[in-house]
Symmetry: C2
Subunit: 143 residues, 2 copies
DNA sequence: TTATTAAAACACCAAAAGGTCTTTTAATAT
DNA sequence: ATATTAAAAGACCTTTTGGTGTTTTAATAA
């Protein structure tokens, strides 16, 4: 579905938010271990998320990653869009730029409801809502 | 949705089948032009499809690509699977190997119906059915 | 004020995806 | 037979993705 960077980013963000709910500010080593993603790559991705403004961080002792609680909840779609663009949830199955309701590819009509469902899913679910679900147990973030 | 190779392959296959319905056996140059894909890359992809047994070809004068009409219709899923595996229509949104009904990621339940719909779509539609639709007009294969 | 800690910055590397081009082989029409 | 045509084979090349590692900077606790 999504590329590796997006997958690690989503899992990492949900994990950080989950820890924040517990009053903890995790660092790169902890996040990478818990979401079972490559250590250095996870660090790079978290830092990119900070630069993109999705996440905050502090250096030094007691440092780590956390969310600005004054900001609104973060929809998955916003993160996906920022990392890999809209190719996953928009765009034609045949790769045609002109494909649309007026000028459809042979799959367009059948694909439209699926695309709409994906859009809805990643537009409505947020890092916060998923962290909340995760906290209640029954879901996993690693392996 | 799909990667470039898959997109060009699907468009190319549908175009070849469409031409076959008209009693014509197109070559690389014609296919690449009509589906508006890179010439040499299209050639490479069509040749791969021949090696994979999805398509037939003859060299020399009057040569080109065509389908073995004694074979059953070719579902898109078979082509997609052969080129890029099942990552697009199977697998977890969070990239977790263990994710499933027993051990779900936070998105699993919501994603399940979408994956099922994609599976159905590419499992039911075939190169032949799309070529038939294309022949009736109203759909495009290029741009 | 100086160790210590942890993120930021940056350099680098490997594999895969996407794409181009030339040479070889096979079919066919003359 | 041979010229012509068109696919097959294969050698490269570029960009993107995925990943690793070291050095620098900033925060804090002692």
């Amino acid at each position: 579905m999504f590329n590796k960077e997006t997958e690690y980013a989503l899992r990492g963000l949900v994990y950080v938010q989950f820890q924040q709910m517990l009053g903890h500010k995790p660092g790169i080593v902890e996040v990478a271990r818990e979401i079972e993603a490559p250590l250095f790559y996870t660090g790079k991705i978290l830092q990119r998320l900070v630069k993109m403004g999705f996440l905050m961080s502090t250096k030094g002792k007691g440092g780590g990653f956390y969310f600005d609680t004054t900001k609104p909840d973060l929809p998955l779609k916003t993160v996906v869009q920022a990392i890999e663009g809209d190719k996953t949830y928009a765009g034609c199955g045949f790769g045609l730029k002109e494909c649309g309701d007026e000028n459809p590819c042979p799959l367009h009509e059948q694909f439209a409801p699926i695309r709409a469902a994906i859009n809805k899913l990643i537009g409505q679910n947020t890092v916060q809502s998923l962290a909340h679900d995760f906290r209640k147990g029954g879901t996993i973030l690693g392996l």
